[in-house]
């Protein structure tokens, strides 16, 4: 989570930092202070330039010529001054409908967002998912399936109650639907439309949007239920250190003791809760456009805490146009979703073909005692002690 925040800070704040560290501005006397050919070429090269000479050059109504004087009717701002003010969102715009959103007439952040979405997001997001699958295939080929070492005893113990399993499957099923529909929306134009046609892609994306908007509520509901249901069992404790020291028994032949959830499962749990919670927040912000801005406030808090300074970056922007809020929400939603999808792919692997008997825990809810002893020995002892206690209490004293 922290790494993701750092990544976003880096992406957002790099331009600001670059502006601050740039060399002194070039001499623009030849153009009367307007941008020079060097400025234009630098921008075309994708370099960050200090644009304050344009941003702040929006006229001066206080020293306007009298209304009857030459150019007095312009009110101290020429047409280029006005366009610059619109361009940099500092013009005093009045609208009859649409509120603050409609007051933004030019919003160039959209281009950066679009390029980020089409470029790094699509590329590295795809690499992350395919790379995760590739690594798991490699791991499977090298390690094989994690088997139950002892012979199965034939006696089972209830690992998860029906309500727990149902909540898990609501969360899992909705996440899979959200993941696929999100990927269709992200990659449909590039990888579906060319092969199956634009009409098919359009229908698929329309259906995806419908599913995504509505199934999201099942995901959020299940996320809350799962949090309260399992948070107690996922608080880190000392046995987790042993689990890490023995690599969870995934590498090697040792099987570290564990309670109901081992350290690996706790990582999955907290990833789902924290990343899923963050995805839900940004998703709600996208579902109710312009009504739940998240980033200006968050950036303000982070600036006050001095987080960007710790990373050697300039303060994050706190004056964001409504459209910028939406662009950031969309970018954040997608970045965190890609990370969570990669984690969940690994979770699906270990819960299915990666480990013998793991699926039973969430399938029927019953696991063989040999399996339970191998993977959750402390939990098995606790369950057996409770069973013994219950049977003792049920047997009347002679």
């Amino acid at each position: 989570m922290r790494a993701l925040l750092c990544l976003l800070f880096f992406c957002l704040a790099l331009p600001l930092a670059a502006q601050e560290t740039d060399a002194p501005p070039p001499d623009r006397s030849a153009t009367g202070g307007a941008q020079t050919l060097e400025d234009i070429i630098a921008r075309q090269r994708g370099e960050q330039i200090d644009d304050t000479f344009r941003r702040e050059n929006v006229g001066d109504p206080d020293s306007a010529a009298g209304i009857a004087s030459q150019l007095g009717t312009l009110g101290g701002a020429s047409d280029p001054d006005l366009w610059r003010a619109l361009r940099f969102n500092s013009a005093d715009v009045s609208v009859s409908a649409g509120g603050d959103v409609a007051k933004v007439l030019v919003q160039d952040g959209g281009m950066g967002w679009y390029q980020f979405r089409q470029g790094p997001l699509a590329t590295y997001g795809g690499y992350l998912l395919l790379g995760t699958i590739g690594l798991l295939v490699l791991f499977f080929l090298l390690r094989g399936r994690i088997r139950v070492d002892r012979e199965k005893v034939g006696r089972t113990v209830t690992r998860f109650q029906f309500a727990e399993r149902m909540a898990h499957w609501v969360l899992a099923g909705s996440f899979i639907l959200l993941g696929f529909t999100g990927l269709f929306v992200k990659y449909g134009r590039d990888y579906i439309a060319p092969y199956l046609g634009k009409d098919f892609n359009a229908a698929l994306l329309l259906a995806s949007k419908f599913v995504h908007n509505n199934v999201a509520w099942a995901f959020m509901l299940a996320l809350v239920v799962v949090f309260f249901m399992w948070v107690w069992h996922n608080i880190p404790n000392r046995t987790d250190l042993t689990w890490f020291a023995q690599a969870g028994g995934i590498v090697g032949s040792k099987h570290p003791p564990a309670k109901k959830f081992n350290a690996g499962q706790k990582i999955i749990f907290w990833s789902v809760i924290l990343l899923g919670g963050s995805i839900s927040m940004s998703g709600l912000s996208l579902l109710f456009p312009f009504e739940m801005p998240l980033f200006a406030k968050t950036f303000g808090i982070l600036n006050n805490l001095g987080v960007p300074g710790l990373l050697g970056l300039a303060d994050l922007p706190t004056a964001l146009a409504p459209q910028e809020e939406m662009q950031l929400a969309q970018a954040w939603h997608a970045i965190v979703s890609f990370v969570l999808m990669a984690i969940i792919i690994a979770h699906i692997y270990i819960g299915s073909i990666g480990m013998e008997g793991a699926y039973d825990a969430m399938g029927s809810g019953e696991v063989d005692e040999a399996w339970a002893h191998q993977h959750h020995s402390i939990w098995l002892e606790e369950v057996k002690a409770k069973q013994k206690e219950a049977s003792t209490a049920a047997t009347p004293a002679e």
Partner: protein, 41 residues
């Protein structure tokens, strides 16, 4: 398997309720940003 089927059924029920509820609440951008002077349909 029963838990999976129950989970899928719950997803369908919650999603349908969300769809109905959101539309009743008039959440769409079209509805939110339409007014006497602005028609978006």
């Amino acid at each position: 398997m029963k838990a999976i089927i129950a989970g899928i059924a719950a997803i369908i029920v919650v999603s349908a309720a969300a769809w109905y509820g959101l539309n009743q609440a008039g959440f769409s951008s079209q509805e939110l940003n339409s007014g006497d002077n602005v028609r978006l349909d």
